[in-house]
Point group: C2
Chain length 337, copies 2
């Protein structure tokens, strides 16, 4: 069996370019004992992948140059050497940017195609949804009447953060780029206020939308949004730091003045809590998350939105769009039927 | 009854100068019902007072120009209109930079001169000791075998942080300025390692003294010490942010590059916790603190060091020295016998 795969050809500087990747078709090994040969149906594209393309120190090792780009996948089992899986089963795995993969069965989770659309295992019921759930509830701890702000708010993490904030009785303020996304925040996701970060008076709009200040800022973008949020933070505000997508493409620090001490001073004077996290540290909450989230979706309390792009050959272009906000909702590549 | 008091004559820019203060002698009001007329015996000088001289936004309102500088005091009751206190009693209060004061009796805490030296109510058994105790144990949460780093480590907060870290089984690394202080850290306070932040190879010394990285950094200085600490922080490190004395005199931000995003990136990648605090939010722990600390002092597990300067007229000069590290131990002005 052959796989067509996208490998990292060189490390990008700034925005990933086509020449940083190479598509190749190679023969796959036969699945050794305890493994399965899989056909990729859906590939998840997520902002963390930009970090894996870089060899800067991070919480996970980089993808080696020449290796297949990593990523979560929904796949069909073609052949299994482990009795836990049979041909035709659908599984959540980590097959990466390719059409076929061989994976250890104990790393796979069998999905029930009747329970929910398969793509949701990569989004609202998967890692992005769990990132929102665990980070907001464990670190952000929104209380009734408080104000929660999140950016990239039409994305699968941000949209879920806003809706869980509302379920907890908080006021949800969403930030996104462009009028179409802002409308979606209000109409589709039910945010109490929605702001376009591209507006020239963005900071003033944020101030107007947070008349009682900000109690929880779920940080996934950094940059200009963080700058506008900082003066609005209330005493004892909590900031789960989940991502900084606006700076992932930066290859050098921005010019001065140096505001590191300014941030430390705000942390001190406002008794702020900043806490970086990745969802893997909270995996003991995963079963509770799945039960809660499935219930909220069934009850119409959590909506989701997916942006499915057809064809593995559009992966690099789609990923660039993800970093610049061109997609609308959870970005998934449909690799096969 | 007259009081001689030091008032804020103008707001300092940078290091407080003599001309920012004025000494004046005025008539005190007679104590109204529920109040006491007090003679100041000891005045505490603490870094937070620099913030009160400024009208920048902070967690407490600034001292008004023309008003008496604030500060904790140990005083003798000269006259009381409340039966809870009698003439001759010794109390902890907040009389400020002056020889006499009139205070509400319910804001005073009666001290037992036989239980401990009176000055300790301003240091190891008072606000500085409680700051160390509550911030380290509640936010820092040092575990056995972990490494705790603290700067200004001969000061009443830093020295106590290091010793409580050791009581909890952690390794304590202290940072101070100059060889005399470094020796004190090892000999008097029992730190496992002690480093002079003025050494040209300070960052290398810190790295050598923290071979297993840093799990808790109790932040009270900022600046160059923070810069050296950041690359040594372990995943899941905790940073109670208690003070930033190195930047209190700064009137503008330092030149670039802008490292605010760099700090945010570290928080993300290392899953750091930064939490600003002032001890007042933990006052429900105060009784437990006093019991624990008195026990540790009695058992010889916590040592303390005081720097008593004689005479209210040396207050401004002594306070300047506090900001630049000239004092040795908890700085107290002896105002009267």
């Amino acid at each position: 069996m052959k796989t067509t795969r996208i490998v990292l050809a060189s490390r990008p500087t700034g925005t990933p370019a086509d020449e940083n990747f190479r598509t190749e078709t190679v023969e796959l090994e036969s699945p050794p004992p305890g493994s399965a040969l899989l056909q990729t149906l859906y590939l998840s594209l997520d902002p963390y992948m930009r970090g894996r393309m870089s060899d800067a120190p991070s919480y996970a090792p980089p993808v080696e140059v020449g290796a297949t780009m990593v990523g979560a996948t929904v796949s069909r089992v073609l052949e299994s050497t482990d009795p836990a899986l049979s041909s035709g089963d659908i599984v959540l795995g980590y097959g990466g940017w390719q059409t076929h993969s061989v994976e250890r069965v104990r790393h796979l989770r069998k999905l029930d195609p009747a329970a929910a659309p398969l793509t949701t295992a990569l989004g609202v019921l998967g890692m992005p949804g769990f990132t929102a759930y665990s980070g907001l509830l464990t670190i952000g701890q929104p209380k009734a009447g408080e104000t929660v702000v999140v950016a990239a708010a039409t994305g699968p993490v941000g949209a879920t953060v806003g809706q869980i904030a509302k379920i907890n009785g908080a006021r949800a303020v969403g930030i996104a780029g462009g009028p179409r996304k802002v409308e979606l925040l209000r109409e589709h996701f039910g945010f109490d206020a929605a702001i376009d970060h591209r507006a020239p008076d963005f900071a003033e709009q944020l101030a107007a939308a947070t008349p009682d200040g900000i109690d929880v800022y779920f940080e996934n973008v950094g940059g200009a949004v963080l700058d506008a949020v900082l003066p609005r933070l209330n005493k004892f505000a909590r900031i789960p730091v989940c991502g900084l997508v606006s700076q992932y493409n930066d290859s050098e620090l921005p010019p001065g003045p140096d505001r590191m001490g300014l941030l430390m001073g705000l942390i001190l004077r406002k008794s702020l809590t900043l806490r970086g996290f990745i969802q893997t540290e909270f995996l003991d909450q995963f079963d509770r998350f799945q039960a809660d989230m499935a219930g909220w979706i069934d009850a119409g309390r959590v909506a989701y939105l997916e942006d499915v792009v057809d064809g593995l050959d559009h992966t690099v272009e789609a990923f660039r769009g993800l970093l610049t906000g061109k997609n609308l909702g959870k970005l998934v590549i449909k690799v096969a039927d």
